[in-house]
């Protein structure tokens, strides 16, 4: 599903964001990427989404080589991804349901199915009663959950969650982590970046990657 070989990322201003990242992520895996701010977590997710391209090394996501000359194909590849952005990126002036539906309209599904799946996704995140509320009227935690609903309603092969617990209190953060891990199935890989290592204990299932200054410094397999 994801295969990175010696991937490095250098920005045009000369800043090195990632150095020689090599990893393999299979369908059904949950991967937590932790590390302090500036360690390269978000940069790595940007590579996976095709927002940035590797400066060197090779990266394959969902069978597609991620390189600048493949930009048009990568754009289509994003339809198989369910991103949860750090700053949510919900569309203002629209309801929670409209936001979820908007992320699915171009997937080629029948309208009825789009609305059914969107309602199911909102129910999964516990927001079925707020589906007709405008997103600007929702609380921080609710907005976060709408963003997750938008990602999962698309039934993606790859869920990418960038700091999904940022700015949440411990209880809400744990709820979000539980929610994300509950989405695990044999086809979907889930990648979660977080600097809140206290939310990941030994009972947490999945792979843990610790990043520092653009490199993976250690990784643990199986139960974290």
């Amino acid at each position: 599903m994801i295969e990175a070989k010696d991937v490095s990322l250098r920005y045009p201003d000369g800043t090195t964001a990632l150095t020689n990242i090599s990893l393999r992520i299979e369908p059904g895996e949950i991967v937590y990427i932790t590390g302090p701010s500036g360690s390269g977590k978000t940069s790595f997710l940007k590579l996976l989404m095709g927002i940035e391209y590797p400066s060197s090394g090779s990266l394959q996501v969902l069978g597609q080589t991620m390189s600048k000359d493949q930009a048009a194909v990568i754009r289509q590849l994003r339809m198989q991804m369910g991103p949860v952005f750090q700053e949510f990126k919900l569309i203002k002036g629209r309801t929670a349901l409209e936001n979820v539906v908007m992320g699915m309209r171009f997937l080629g599904l029948p309208t009825k199915q789009i609305y059914e799946d969107a309602c199911i996704a909102l129910a999964k995140v516990g927001l079925e009663h707020k589906s007709l509320a405008y997103v600007e009227n929702l609380s921080w935690g609710e907005t976060q959950r709408v963003a997750i609903a938008r990602a999962i309603a698309r039934k993606p092969a790859l869920i990418l969650a960038d700091e999904p617990t940022g700015n949440l209190d411990v209880e809400n953060a744990l709820n979000i982590m539980d929610l994300l891990t509950s989405l695990k199935d044999e086809k979907t890989a889930i990648i979660i970046t977080t600097h809140a290592t206290h939310l990941i204990d030994s009972s947490t299932e999945g792979k843990l990657l610790q990043m520092e200054t653009g490199s993976i410094c250690w990784e643990r397999l199986g139960s974290v």
Partner: protein
């Protein structure tokens, strides 16, 4: 394509939301577009009326051919027939002495008393030749070389001026229409770019979710067309009212100016402005969208 058709209702709802969320800015855009289309409508109306007037005047363009008075009736008929067959001649008619006298009386009005000093009718019969103005030179060449033609009064200088005026009017009409058309295009494309800028976060999010450019762009295209169409409708209504006033004003002091019939003229103008507003809205929106692609 099927995907776009399935979402057609969504695109219109989204266009409505885009307008609603930036209502003030869109109202200003609508008023600006309405005003610029109104200016275009007035320029086109002035142009069309001028051309119509010139055409009517051109229709009156005529040459008087004086002939050898010793010609018998049969030869005169042959001459008239010969002139009628010259290319560019629309109508040929014999004006006899009596008609020539009556015409002069009409022209002189109260001063016609001066004609009473003549013992005999001082006017000669002539052949009145109505022509297509653009062919005046070749017609004159042929007439002067025709046997039995004694003298040709051509009013060429006046007719040439008329022809130049017609050319200038036509050219300035095209120029004004093109200038206003380009301005509209620039304003509309800028308006769309502004809409895109105002909604850049939404566009960016949809791109990150993998939405195709056509899916992202269509609501903006609809907004552009709806705004310019509304502007066109406002302009068509305003120009209808203004033209109605102008017709009413001109009917009094300037009744001799042959204006085209109002109802048909206003309908034609409204149809043109509405079609142009759709066309320019579509083009301007496409220009705006393509210039913002990849930003």
């Amino acid at each position: 394509m099927t995907n776009l058709l399935h979402n057609i209702g969504y695109f219109f709802r989204e266009a409505k939301t885009i307008v609603r969320l930036n209502l003030l800015s869109n109202m200003v855009s609508l008023i600006s577009t309405g005003l610029i289309f109104f200016i275009l409508a007035m320029v086109v109306a002035g142009w069309w009326i001028s051309i119509d007037v010139i055409e009517v005047i051109q229709g009156e363009a005529e040459i008087n051919v004086y002939f050898d008075e010793s010609l018998n009736a049969a030869d005169l008929q042959d001459l008239i027939k010969g002139i009628g067959s010259i290319e560019g001649v629309r109508e040929v008619r014999l004006v006899d002495e009596k008609e020539a006298y009556a015409r002069m009386e009409e022209i002189l009005g109260e001063e016609a008393r001066v004609l009473e000093f003549f013992e005999d009718n001082p006017f000669n019969p002539f052949i009145e030749v109505k022509i297509h103005l653009e062919q005046i030179t070749s017609i004159l060449e042929k007439l002067t070389s025709t046997q039995d033609v004694a003298y040709v009064r051509d009013n060429q200088e006046i007719l040439e001026r008329l022809r130049s005026l017609s050319r200038v009017l036509e050219f300035s009409g095209y120029l004004a229409a093109v200038a206003v058309g380009i301005s509209t295009l620039v304003i509309v494309s800028h308006m769309i770019r502004l809409e895109i800028y105002n909604n850049r976060e939404q566009i960016n999010t949809l791109r990150l979710l993998g939405a195709p450019e056509s899916f992202i762009g269509l609501p903006f295209l609809i907004v552009g067309i709806l705004l310019t169409l509304s502007g066109g409708l406002v302009a068509a209504s305003m120009s209808h009212l203004v033209l109605n006033q102008i017709y009413a004003q001109m009917a009094g002091p300037l009744p001799f100016i042959p204006l085209p019939p109002f109802a048909a003229f206003a309908r034609k103008l409204a149809a043109l402005i509405i079609l142009l507003s759709i066309g320019l809205g579509l083009t301007g929106s496409l220009v705006g969208l393509s210039s913002e692609k990849g930003n």
